[in-house]
């Protein structure tokens, strides 16, 4: 069961091959057995999962099953889930039991899915390796000495290891696509505003977006159909109809115009990754697509712009963690300043503090124009690059990451870690959707192909990814981890 896709599991449940309870028990057992080593979950909610599975089976027995009824999945521990600890990977929220459900959690519950638990992540979604979690690093099931990527590293590793068929992640600068690439799964960052942010602990509000992580584009389509849509509680969510993303999988790619941004194939790109990507592009040509080079001239300004804008927003978003209404509070504060300073110093990890300090500094008097305002101007130029490119081509393709997964502990320096996000970060600044699909491997570590489209082109991206998965088998490969134990 643990090797099956969501779509396959849905068919099997429908056919009565097994019940949601059997499936849930089997996966919970697998998590128990394997996750000690992997560390992909922060909280496993077995009891709630079994209750939800029973409810799903009962609904099916009554003939009330929907397309997602009884399907197990996991949630990045950034989504508030009522009655369950929602830690965001931080000591600050280690004791926080969310009193409400995030919009996406509500939607997934209504759809009848079964959440197995909350997955590990970089603290407050700040990181590209999952090494910044208060709950310890996650390992990459393809190679336990490698990182799974971040910040949705727990979700990616859990799916790759067959602990769960799909998971939700969030992506602020690549946090769905990069771990998806590192772990050999499919991950979609939707258009900003496509999925509600309500109940998703904020990192950088103008960049954050939730999305599905699964084995196939088809599974991502199934999940996106369930979580997308306008939410009256999120002012930045977009009032726009949600297509049936699964129904749109099947269009021919004949005549599809693919652009290869030349900046995504330059210095710093691992040649082995490059050749895997170029092979993938050839597959598309064989499917009838045409390929041309395009330019996104402001690409190299995306990382600096991001590391001004995201920390600035974060510094403000994280001010609410003050030890007063929830979260960590230091022992016996002797005055108000002490309460604030010690609670926050103890509750936040190193990378979070770094970004709060950077954001506070760049927003402060005398620096605002040079940093924040400038970064927002550059942000407009970056978005314009994409809009110009999409005048010429339908989608853009390139590597999701410059290298395959790196070793745990390999990137000690924050700036070199930031540079890992070179191909993913501009997409968040522009607000466009992007998907990473497995497209090869280097020394046993997966390579991800990133496909980008204009705002609200999720249907097209999912189909373009799906067609690739109809003629390749990278997405079907499974790591050795967990196999011999199966």
């Amino acid at each position: 069961m643990h090797d099956m896709t969501l779509t396959e599991l849905a068919r099997a449940l429908e056919a009565g091959e097994f019940t949601s309870r059997q499936l849930t028990e089997s996966l919970l057992e697998r998590i128990k057995r394997l996750d000690g080593e992997l560390n992909s979950f922060i909280s496993v909610t077995a009891e709630q999962a079994l209750a939800a599975a029973d409810a799903a089976d009962a609904a099916r027995a009554r003939g009330e099953a929907g397309p997602l009824t009884g399907l197990p999945l996991a949630l990045k521990d950034i989504f508030c889930t009522e009655g369950v600890r929602t830690s965001c990977g931080s000591k600050m929220l280690d004791n926080f039991i969310a009193p409400y459900d995030a919009n996406v959690v509500e939607k997934l519950k209504t759809a009848g899915t079964v959440s197995l638990g909350k997955t590990n992540m970089d603290e407050f979604a700040m990181g590209s390796s999952n090494e910044n979690s208060y709950y310890g690093p996650v390992k990459n099931p393809w190679d336990l000495s490698a990182v799974p990527g971040g910040s949705s590293g727990g979700s990616a590793a859990a799916v790759a290891a067959g602990l769960v068929p799909a998971a939700l992640g969030t992506d602020t600068g690549g946090s769905i696509r990069q771990p998806a690439a590192f772990c050999g799964i499919t991950g979609l960052k939707p258009t900003y505003g496509r999925v509600s942010r309500y109940g998703m602990v904020a990192y950088a509000s103008s960049l954050d977006q939730a999305g599905p992580m699964a084995r196939t584009a088809e599974d991502c389509a199934l999940l996106l159909s369930a979580i997308a849509g306008h939410d009256l509680r999120d002012s930045t969510s977009v009032a726009r109809g949600v297509p049936d993303y699964c129904a749109e999988l099947g269009a021919s790619l004949s005549g599809l115009k693919i652009g290869l941004p030349k900046e995504y194939f330059g210095d710093g790109l691992d040649p082995a990754v490059e050749s895997a990507i170029r092979e993938a592009v050839k597959v598309y040509e064989s499917l009838g697509a045409t390929v041309q080079e395009v330019s996104l001239p402001h690409t190299h300004h995306a990382i600096p712009a991001y590391y001004v804008i995201a920390p600035a927003e974060a510094s403000s978003n994280l001010s609410r963690y003050d030890g007063v209404r929830f979260g960590h509070r230091c022992d016996a504060p002797h005055d108000l300043e002490d309460l604030y300073k010690r609670s926050r110093a103890e509750g936040f990890g190193d990378e979070v503090k770094r970004r709060i300090l950077i954001g506070t500094h760049t927003l402060s008097e005398g620096f605002f124009d040079a940093y924040y305002k400038k970064a927002q101007q550059v942000r407009r130029l970056i978005r314009q690059d994409f809009m110009d490119a999409f005048e010429e081509v339908d989608v853009l393709m390139g590597p999701s990451t410059p290298t395959p997964a790196f070793d745990l502990g390999a990137n000690k320096d924050p700036v070199s870690m930031y540079l890992q996000d070179i191909y993913t970060i501009a997409i968040n600044l522009a607000g466009i959707p992007g998907i990473s699909v497995p497209a090869g491997a280097v020394d046993g570590r997966p390579v991800g192909l990133q496909i980008l489209g204009p705002h609200f082109a999720e249907s097209q991206l999912l189909n373009v990814a799906h067609q690739f998965q109809q003629v390749t088998d990278w997405h079907q490969q499974r790591p050795a981890f967990g196999k011999e134990n199966a």
């Binding site: 009193p99 900003y192 300004h301 030890g323 007063v324 209404r325 309460l339 936040f348 402060s364």
Partner: protein
């Protein structure tokens, strides 16, 4: 722009992050390099370019003025480190 230890201390104070001197020195190094990277933005010609705050050119939707929330104090305060008589407690604030 060069960063001095007092810049880090000032930011830490504004952000109410307790830092000892060793921390502060370490952050000066890290932050200096991050800001050096951010300084690359200065090379971009942005004359006449309007800042972009949101990726979509959308406008604010307004909510009907209706009371939709009920009292959930007890539930919310289960997460609070210190409450009494329904109030959140903090060390004495001196005006």
């Amino acid at each position: 722009m060069a960063l001095e230890p007092q810049d880090v201390k000032r930011a830490a104070h504004l952000a109410r992050l307790g830092l000892d001197d060793t921390d502060a020195d370490r952050y000066v190094d890290d932050l200096t390099r991050i800001l050096e990277m951010a300084d690359q933005l200065q090379a971009v010609d942005t004359d006449g370019v309007a800042p972009l705050a949101h990726p979509l050119d959308a406008t604010q939707r307004l909510r009907a003025d209706e009371v939709t929330e009920t009292d959930q104090r007890e539930r919310f305060q289960r997460n609070a480190p210190a409450v009494e008589n329904g109030l959140y407690l903090v060390p004495r604030v001196v005006e």
